[in-house]
Symmetry: C2
Subunit: 152 residues, 2 copies
């Protein structure tokens, strides 16, 4: 399967936007500084998320990104696939022609695993994450940290 920093960054960014959604549009720089992700790189990811309809953007001063739709309607799985990190664990991408046209010895195993992972990540929404105590804890620490470093 293919879960890289790209997918992790995407989920982190989406969650960051979710945590600060009451502040209106969130700028790339804000997310970048809070989450410690390169701003230029983040832009690419957010662009993909927008293209997939998970975010909307507001241009100009005071602009930024906002979630499209309800927190509970956005699953972790949808975020990861939106930026191209597939959840698929098979080599043949599910087609079953892993070994010169035939199915390889372990095809079903990876197929089952893919399903397992996907159903797990589909079952977790931004709403779930936002509700977690640990997440709230980390978020407030990051907010404090940002205020602190900006006053230096």
């Amino acid at each position: 399967m293919r879960l890289t920093t790209k997918g992790r960054y995407a989920v982190t960014a989406m969650l960051d936007i979710a945590m600060h959604r009451h502040r209106g549009p969130i700028s790339v720089v804000d997310i970048s500084e809070r989450q410690g992700i390169s701003a230029a790189y983040l832009e690419q990811l957010l662009a993909k998320l927008k293209k997939q309809g998970l975010l909307v953007s507001v241009r100009g001063p005071g602009g930024g990104y906002q979630l499209e739709g309800e927190l509970s309607g956005i699953s972790v799985s949808s975020i990861i696939t939106a930026v191209g990190d597939g959840v698929d664990a098979t080599r043949c991408h599910g087609s079953g022609d892993c070994q010169d046209g035939h199915m390889c010895l372990t095809h079903d195993l990876w197929s089952d695993l893919s399903e397992e992972i996907d159903s797990f990540l589909t079952g977790i929404s931004l709403a779930d994450l936002v509700g977690r105590k640990e997440v709230q804890h980390v978020a407030t620490r990051q907010d404090q940290q940002l205020i602190h470093t900006r006053h230096l």
Copy 2:
């Protein structure tokens, strides 16, 4: 998480050895031809599996690799980790210092995911795979294929 062809090859090779275990030691070339995996590359993987105690080797003519221990005692998870494809989905490898010494916003999510995947793969042993109808089906096809191509 990091599931690449390396891990898939390793599981495939182990399963191949398991399916033919009654024939005594299985040579790298046999596995290579049946499973369509580069022999030289396979050797590296089998060496790691041996080093981790999942296989024993017999040198000389008629030699090859054999499973160490019971089929039911070898989990897919142990095979994958033995060749270096971790099941870990976190960036910090579980330590929790993902963001300059602190925990990142999504640490727990990846941690939970890792656990989910690991428990799934730990729950599947070679014995389970060997017992599957589809696997037996594919194995006999591969055996026929090998006999056929060797007589050309």
